[in-house]
């Protein structure tokens, strides 16, 4: 699946996402960094490093998804502890 050409300005770069679910999971990680960790991406980054190390050949955005799943599980724990 590919993103249709929507006339998005690519500047001198390239479009970052190959499929809608990839931009979705990127935006969700941004939401977690912003709203669960006050803008700090480091908790997510640690999970991403772990996810990539666990399966180095897994496609990048799938590792990203696994990292966000792991981090989301940790937010559960925090929520329970405070609930």
């Amino acid at each position: 699946m590919t993103v249709p050409d929507l006339g998005v300005p690519r500047r001198n770069g390239e479009l970052a996402f190959d499929a809608p679910w990839q931009s979705r999971v990127f935006g969700l990680a941004a939401a977690v960094a912003e709203h669960a960790y006050a803008g700090d991406w480091e908790p997510f980054r640690r999970q991403l490093i772990t996810a990539i190390a666990a399966e180095p050949d897994r496609p990048y955005w799938e590792s990203w998804t696994a990292a966000l799943e792991a981090l989301t599980g940790m937010i559960d724990v925090v929520g329970d502890a405070h609930g």
């Binding site: 300005p9 001198n12 931009s23 969700l28 991403l48 989301t72 937010i75």
Partner: protein, 197 residues
């Protein structure tokens, strides 16, 4: 294109996982309406290598700015309005006639988002992440960037603490160009250090 009527394919397993994550995070109140759309729109249309190119062009035309940029990248880049996630600890490394700089993230995909946008696919791939440290000249040559034997190659490993941006050398014969015209010469790859201008 048959835009009027089509039956979408059922979601793939990875699409289902992302949808489940979205439902869970929304339930926790972490995903305000429209947030994901706004974030991805900004990274697809506003935040990209053109920002970094403006930084480089300014450094080429303004020696005082160049000095500030090399001394304190984060603040000098923020002067031009580029700041935010993954841009808090910027270090700018300068190419010279005797030194070529190139940036990698060996552990994951750390990258200076405010100045370069999101990283290209190859930057995140295991071969780039491992080989750029082990055999930078060979890999650079394979990527079309030949470094003369008498030029040093400095490889910078991005991390949580530091994000690097390469300041390429200003190409010869560009004395008459305006800052805007110069910015148009600066490519993303030259600011990662896998290309020379």
């Amino acid at each position: 294109m048959n835009a009027g009527h089509h039956h979408p394919a059922p979601p793939s397993p990875i699409e289902q996982r992302v949808a489940a994550l979205e439902a869970l995070l929304t339930e926790k109140g972490l995903v305000p309406d429209g947030f994901v759309e706004e974030v991805t729109r900004r990274y697809e249309t506003e935040i990209g290598p053109l920002n970094g190119a403006k930084v480089v062009a300014r450094a080429w035309v303004d020696p005082a700015y160049r000095e500030r940029l090399l001394r304190d990248g984060t603040h000098a880049i923020a002067e031009l309005g580029f700041a935010g996630a993954e841009g808090d600890h910027m270090v700018v490394v300068e190419n010279t006639p005797s030194v070529h700089n190139v940036v990698v993230c060996t552990l994951c995909s750390c990258y200076p988002w405010p100045t370069l946008g999101l990283p290209p696919a190859w930057y995140k791939d295991p071969p780039y992440r491992s080989r750029m440290v082990r055999e930078p000249r060979v890999l650079l040559r394979e990527m079309g960037c030949v470094i003369p034997e008498d030029m040093e190659v400095h490889v910078w490993d991005s991390s949580a603490e530091v994000r690097y941006l390469v300041l390429p050398e200003r190409p010869a014969g560009t004395e008459e160009l305006t800052e805007e015209e110069l910015a148009a010469l600066v490519t993303r790859d030259s600011m990662i250090g896998v290309a020379r201008l």
